[in-house]
C-alpha cells in the first residue's frame, strides 16, 4: 500500500479523468477551417456527397473555402478534377496554398456537357473531388450528381449563383458566401444537423 506511484505514470496510462472536454472528433473530410468544422454535422464536408456553394459574384473567397481540402486531397491517391472552371486556375497561387497541380485534371466541356462530365468523373470512383460551375442545373440534375458522388465515394462541389438559393436542392450541404461584409459563410442547409442561425466567420485575410 505504501508503494509510491508517480503521477505522470497514472496520467500516461489514462487512468485519471482530468475533467477536460474531449476535443471535437475530426470528420472524414475536414474543411481545414476549424470554425466551419465545428458547426458542420460530421466535422467537415459531407463525405461522398454533393456540396453546393452559392456566390453573389466571382472572387469573394469561394476557392479559399475549398483550397485547404484540395491541398489535403492532392496528396492522396486519387486526382482532383475541375470541370470547366470560369477562369484558369493560377498555378503559382494554387501551389502557394499547398495544392500539387500534377494531381489536378482540368476538363474543358461545352455548357451542355458540363453536368455529363461531372457525373462521369464522380461515378468513375477514381476522383477524390470534382468541382464544377454548372449554369443550367435543375433539381433532377443535382440529384443525379448527388447519387453519382455517393456511388463514386467522391466529394462533389457545385459552385452556383446565389439566385438559386430559393430553389430546393438535393445537395447534402449548401453554403452561401457574402461579398460584404467579408469572410462570412452562411450555412443554408446541412443534412444530419441543425442549421446554425449565425454565419461562420473565416479568417481568409491571413492568407492574403
Amino acid at each position: 500500500m505504501s508503494a509510491v506511484v508517480p503521477l505522470s505514470s497514472l496520467l500516461d496510462a489514462r487512468r485519471v479523468w482530468r475533467g477536460r472536454v474531449e476535443p471535437m472528433p475530426t470528420g472524414e473530410q475536414p474543411t481545414g477551417w476549424a470554425a466551419l468544422d465545428a458547426v458542420l454535422p460530421g466535422g467537415g464536408w459531407p463525405a461522398a456527397a454533393l456540396s453546393e456553394i452559392l456566390l453573389p459574384l466571382d472572387g469573394v473567397g469561394e476557392l479559399q473555402l475549398v483550397l485547404p481540402t484540395l491541398a489535403r486531397l492532392s496528396r492522396g491517391a486519387r486526382p482532383l478534377v475541375l470541370v470547366t472552371p470560369p477562369y484558369a486556375p493560377c498555378v503559382a497561387g494554387w501551389r502557394q496554398r499547398g495544392v500539387d497541380m500534377r494531381r489536378v485534371e482540368i476538363v474543358a466541356a461545352a455548357e451542355p456537357d458540363v453536368l455529363w462530365a461531372m457525373e462521369q468523373c464522380l461515378r468513375s470512383g477514381s476522383c477524390a473531388a470534382v468541382l464544377a460551375w454548372p449554369r443550367q442545373a435543375d433539381d433532377r440534375a443535382l440529384r443525379r450528381l448527388q447519387v453519382a458522388a455517393d456511388g463514386g465515394r467522391a466529394l462533389a462541389f457545385a459552385f452556383r449563383d446565389r439566385r438559386h438559393l430559393g430553389n430546393a436542392s438535393p445537395a447534402a450541404l449548401r453554403l452561401e458566401l457574402e461579398a460584404t461584409p467579408h469572410d462570412r459563410v452562411w450555412i443554408r442547409k446541412c443534412r444530419g444537423g441543425v442549421v446554425p442561425a449565425q454565419p461562420v466567420s473565416l479568417p481568409y485575410a491571413a492568407l492574403h
Binding site: Y87, A92, M101, I106
Partner: protein
C-alpha cells in the same frame, strides 16, 4: 511435342453469319453464273434438304425462300489468318493447314494449365468470336489434324497412345495423297493400321515417296514440315454491311464486333493499340474516323466505347456500305498496376479510362493539366503540361487567372497590398512594366490588378483572389 489442332469446318459461312446473324436458311454459292452450286449451307438450310454440291436451281426447287450469298475464297484465307493471330496468344508456334490451325502446346501448358483447361480456353475464345470449331490434340501436327477430322475433342497425349489411335483411322479420313487413298481400298486396305503394317519398300514402289513421307509425318518419324505463322504487323478488317446504313445507331453492332476482334487480335500479339482508323465506305469514297488514345489499350469494351464516342460526333452524309478498321500504331501494352490495398470502390473506372471517355465525347484536348514555366510574366507563367517544378513564387498570387488582363470597371478599388513591380520581357518583344496590387472592388471582390508604375489609375484586372 504436342500439337493442338483447331479445325474450322465452316470458315466462310461463319464469317458471313457473324456479320448478319440469321435464323433462316442461308447458303453460299460459287461457280459460273449459269451453273452455280452450293458450297456451304447453315443448319436451317440443311434441314430443309439443301446439300453441299447441289445446283442452285435444284435448291430453289426444294425451298422457296432462302438467302444465297456468293462464296469468297479469299475471305476463308483472311479469316484463317485472323484466327491464327488470335491463337498466337496460346503458343509461339502456330501453323496453318487447310481449314485448320495447329499450335504447339506442350510448352503452353506450363502457363495455361493442363490440356483440359487449355482446351476450354481455346474453345471459349473461338466460340466468343463466333467460329465453329473442332479441337483435338496429338503428338504430331498432322495426326492432330486427322483426329480432329474424325471426332471433336480427341486427346492423344503420348506417342504410344498415338500409334493405337492411328490404327483405327479409316483410310478415307486419313488425309493421305489422293491417288493412294483412292487406290488402297481396292487392295483391301481400309484403315491406317493396315497401311502402316505394309512393307515400306512396296509402298514406295507403288505410290512413290510422297505417301511414305505423309505416313512418317503422321507418326512423327519425319518432321511436320510446316511454316510457322507470323502475325502481321498491322490490323486490317473490312466488314461489308448487309444493306445500306443511313443512321449511326445501326453501325453500333458491327463496330462492337470489330472492336472485339481487334481486342482478341491484340491479345494474341500481347500488344495494345494507340491509334486506329475506322473507315466508313460510301458509294465512291470513304469517310475516316481517326481515333487516338493517350496510352495503348486493348480492352474490347473500352475500345468500343471510345470508337462509339467518336462515331457519334459524325454526320453521315451518305449511306454506309462497308466498315473498315485499320490499326498500324501497335505499341507494347503495359497493364495498369493496381494497389493491393486499393481504397477505391470495387467498380471504379481507372483514371486512364475516364480520361479516354471524356476525350471521346468532348474532344482530344478536353482533358489537361497545368504546369508552370520559369517566366515571371503571369500570361506566360503557366502552360498546359503535366509537370511541376515545385518552384514556389515568393509573392502572393491569386487563385484565378484571367486569360488576358481586362479593364477593371467601377469606382476606384481599395488597395489591400502591394505594389509588386514586374518589369521584364524586353528581350522577346513581350515587354511588361506593371505594378501589381491586391485590391478590393466596391462589390467586395478581391482582385489582382495592375497599373502603370507609379500611377494608381487605369486599373487592369488580371486575376481573382477567389
Amino acid at each position: 511435342m504436342l500439337w493442338a489442332c483447331v479445325l474450322l469446318p465452316q470458315l466462310a459461312l461463319d464469317g458471313v453469319l457473324r456479320r448478319r446473324p440469321t435464323a433462316g436458311p442461308l447458303v453460299l454459292v460459287a461457280g459460273a453464273a449459269n451453273a452455280r452450286s452450293i458450297v456451304a449451307a447453315n443448319a436451317a438450310a440443311r434441314e430443309a434438304g439443301l446439300r453441299i454440291g447441289q445446283r442452285l436451281s435444284a435448291a430453289q426447287a426444294l425451298l422457296a425462300r432462302f438467302d444465297a450469298l456468293p462464296y469468297e475464297p479469299e475471305s476463308v484465307q483472311r479469316w484463317q489468318q485472323f484466327l491464327a493471330a488470335v491463337a498466337y496468344r496460346y503458343s509461339s508456334e502456330v501453323c496453318l493447314l487447310p481449314h485448320a490451325i495447329v499450335l504447339e502446346v506442350s510448352r503452353s501448358m506450363g502457363l495455361f494449365g493442363p490440356w483440359p483447361r487449355l482446351e476450354n480456353l481455346l474453345r471459349d475464345e473461338f466460340a466468343a468470336l463466333g467460329f465453329r470449331h473442332r479441337i483435338s490434340v496429338a503428338p504430331t501436327a498432322h495426326a492432330a489434324h486427322v483426329l480432329a477430322g474424325i471426332a471433336d475433342g480427341q486427346a492423344v497425349l503420348t506417342p504410344g497412345a498415338l500409334d493405337y489411335a492411328l490404327q483405327r483411322v479409316p483410310l478415307h479420313k486419313s488425309r493421305l495423297p489422293a491417288a493412294a487413298s483412292a487406290a488402297l481400298p481396292g487392295m483391301g486396305i481400309r484403315s491406317l493400321g493396315q497401311l502402316l503394317r505394309m512393307p515400306r519398300d512396296g509402298l514406295r514402289r507403288r505410290f512413290g515417296a510422297e505417301l511414305l513421307l505423309a505416313l512418317d509425318r503422321l507418326t512423327g518419324a519425319a518432321p511436320a514440315g510446316l511454316d510457322s505463322f507470323r502475325p502481321p504487323d498491322r490490323f486490317d478488317l473490312r466488314v461489308e454491311l448487309s444493306h445500306e446504313v443511313e443512321n449511326l445507331a445501326a453501325l453500333v453492332f458491327p463496330v462492337r464486333r470489330m472492336m472485339a476482334d481487334l481486342a482478341a487480335w491484340l491479345a494474341g500479339r500481347d500488344g495494345g493499340v494507340q491509334r486506329f482508323t475506322l473507315q466508313l465506305e460510301h458509294r465512291g469514297g470513304h469517310a475516316d474516323v481517326p481515333v487516338g488514345l493517350l496510352a495503348p489499350e486493348r480492352d474490347a469494351g473500352m475500345l468500343f466505347e471510345v470508337a462509339r464516342g467518336r462515331l457519334e460526333q459524325m454526320q453521315l452524309a451518305e449511306p454506309v456500305l462497308a466498315l473498315r478498321l485499320i490499326a498500324r500504331d501497335l505499341p507494347a501494352f503495359v497493364p495498369a498496376g493496381r494497389d493491393l490495398f486499393d481504397q477505391r470502390p470495387a467498380n471504379a473506372l481507372p483514371i486512364g479510362q475516364l480520361r479516354e471517355r471524356l476525350r471521346a465525347r468532348l474532344g482530344d484536348h478536353a482533358v489537361y493539366q497545368l504546369g508552370s514555366t520559369s517566366d515571371p510574366r503571369p500570361e506566360r507563367a503557366q502552360i498546359i503540361a503535366s509537370r511541376d517544378d515545385g518552384r514556389c513564387e515568393p509573392h502572393p498570387r491569386p487563385t484565378w487567372l484571367l486569360e488576358r488582363p481586362i479593364p477593371l470597371r467601377g469606382s476606384a478599388p481599395r488597395i489591400l497590398a502591394g505594389p509588386e513591380r514586374l518589369e521584364t520581357g524586353w528581350w522577346d518583344g513581350g515587354e511588361v512594366c506593371r505594378d501589381y496590387y491586391l485590391v478590393e472592388t466596391a462589390q467586395g471582390q478581391r482582385a489582382w490588378a495592375f497599373c502603370a508604375p507609379g500611377e494608381r489609375v487605369g486599373w487592369m484586372l488580371h486575376g481573382w483572389f477567389a
